[in-house]
Amino acid sequence: MEQSIKLTELPKKQKKGKERLLPFFTKYGTVLAILVIVLLFSVLSEEFFTYKNWTDILRAISITTLVAIGVTLSLIVNGFDLSVGSTVSLATITSTAAMVWYRQETVIAICIPLLVGLIVGLVNAFLIVKIRLPDMLATLGLMYMINGLHLTITKGYSIYNNMPMTDGGTASGKILPSFLFIGQGEIFSIPFPVIIMFFFVIVVHLGLNYTKFGRLLYVTGGNEEAARLSGVPVKRYKTYAYALSGLFASIAGIVLASRIGTGQVSSGASLLMDSVAAALIGYSVFGANKPNVLGTFVGSILIGILLNGLTMLNVPYYAQDIVKGAILVGALTLMYKSRKEA
């Protein structure tokens, strides 16, 4: 099997100056942006670079990150999950309703939303894998349905302790302290939601990069037909991804409910766009050029720091979306730039 001539020689990379600088930026641009922003805010505001503020930032991004992990998983199988935002809302409502309306224990108040999230994910998977609806359309449809469902359950009202009930009395149950710990507690002065976030970021990162499960998720997304022909049960892996996406949205919903101590309606609506942005920014981090959970984490840190800093500088919240959008465009530019290079 010897070949006497070289038919194709791969280009040897000997990059100089400018040529070397560009890949550096596409690879580390996002991290660099974070450093620059941190430096800038530290100079502009004295309170920015303090332990308390950092824990604030991390706590603020923990919920977005959890949702974004789910989005990342759906992106990995070359899909998309638009229903995560309303799943968060539904999880928030079901967990608080379980306690306030039906006097359930914390364990039940956690299990019910998890189950609900799993079901949402499986329905998504059913529509996409079995019925073969395009992912965007299926999850968009489900987004509306779940949104309507959670408003129907609550008749449009938020759920809180001692809320008036339709029968004239007040709700008999209350949101339990052990439940509130999930979103408000601290261990060694680290906020518990931050611990949850780190836990899942690490677990999912290891899972995606070092296990067969992760490899086959990426392979499924990389080229479904080639994967199928290599014996990968692609439908099953797509189902896993959407189920996990629903699960992570419901975990985020539980943390959110516990954090604010009430079941707010439509509380997850704004999380969809933030988590999608975080996951997409994540593509460009360290030049991964693919959905990855560490990148997603960096993405939500970037968004979190920006929002925190801008709030400190008294930039009105409605103007902050402009910055979010700009960051997203910037990150995507980096990604497509480096994709062209490769």
Partner: protein
Amino acid sequence: MSLQMKRIVKSFHTNKVLKEVDFTVESGEIHALLGVNGAGKSTLVKILSGQQLYDSGEIWIGEERVSLSSPHEAIEAGIGIVVQEVDTALFPELTVAENVTMHELVKGPVFVNWKTRKQRAKQLLQQVGLEIPVDRLVSDCSLSEKQQIVIAQALARNVRYLILDEPTAPLSETETTTLFRIVRRLKASGVGIIFISHRLPEIREICDQVTVLREGKTVLQSEVAGQSDEQIVEAMLGRTLTQRKVKTEKTFLNPILQLDHFTIPKLQQKITFTLYEGEVLGIAGLVGAGKTEIARALSGQDPSPDMLTIRGKKDKIRHPKKAIKLGLCLIPEERRKEGILVDFPVDQNLSLPRVQTITTAGRIDRKKEKQLADAIVKKLGIKTPSLSLSAKRLSGGNQQKVSIGKWLDTNADIYLFDEPTKGIDIGAKGDVFSIISSLADQKKGILYFSSELDELLTVADRIFVLFDGKIIAERRTQETSLEELMALAAGGGTQNGAVNQANRTS
């Protein structure tokens, strides 16, 4: 008048693809452009059609120097191209008339006069000799019709030089004959034609001049008639092709795969045959004869409702995973779409079908994965600077080796090769053939689907000829000839076919 390219240089990063290439095509001649993959043909073509800029050199049309810095300029200069994948040049949801007259639509007045547009389209199609209703949607046209529509499009732009990039590869014999008639007509009207093909007999049939590129240089420029096949191949390769070994007749005893009235769903046909251990069974057929459909049914992509027998055991293949479990693996024709994962590194591509064997407690052992990949890379001579290189950056031949290599040393013992030499250069072809014969030595059963009949004669022990979804003939390789196979594949009986063959070459 002539189109002249002088000392054209083009590099990508530090890789010089064209090193002072000279190329001249005269009006009214058919000029073959040859070279193995990576020789610089496609780059040269892209420069001519304005899709890529050259670094230095000059391009002249007659007495006028042209820059060809954009596709628009190339069209203005009268250079047209029929790309290999014609679908990319057409609008499938528009009618034939609209497609053919697209250029005039862009240039023309604000309001479209449908009547004149259709008439113009008819007129252009007549020039090509194509008779299809101009109201038909392009998506309903056959591939060869689409090709002709693209040619008509070029005529609408007053093409003076037309590039045909491997136009005959997907065509049947009759379609090829039609195409050649059109090309000759264009030649007679003074168009200069650049004809790219890998098939030497064709070039001999239709081309006047030949230019061979090798490693970015012009190595041969001559009249076709003045060169023998051997000389041309030698110019392409820079070495003489080793003489083909005539396969020695072998006897095979143990059946490995038996099909008995096995339904091929996409063909609505039932086929019957037996494949033996250590045998390379060639399935010859032109494009559209049903090769891929059979391969897809056997590999579980389009599952058949019928049972088949593997090593004496009856079983049903419902999906690809089942096929793999039974030891059947497919090396698909659409390599980049189905065979490999282009965005994944070489080692992960190679380990994919046996990822379970390198996994302990869910965790992939990367070290084992690298060792495994490294062994296959060495065994098959896959040229890659690193195991973690994206498969998309390998050459076509090396990608094919990856597509094959991922099945080596798995439990696979029936290999289905669907057009394994498509789009790979002669050197890599030789490697693929030796891989196949070593698989046969290891008592594997091999089904080799191909439209390259001469290659089948080299590699197969026994050949089935497929026509219109049916197996119409069975031949031992020693007992048949290229002429006979060609005639059979083209649908003629032996005698008729031979006559057709004679007509075609005369």
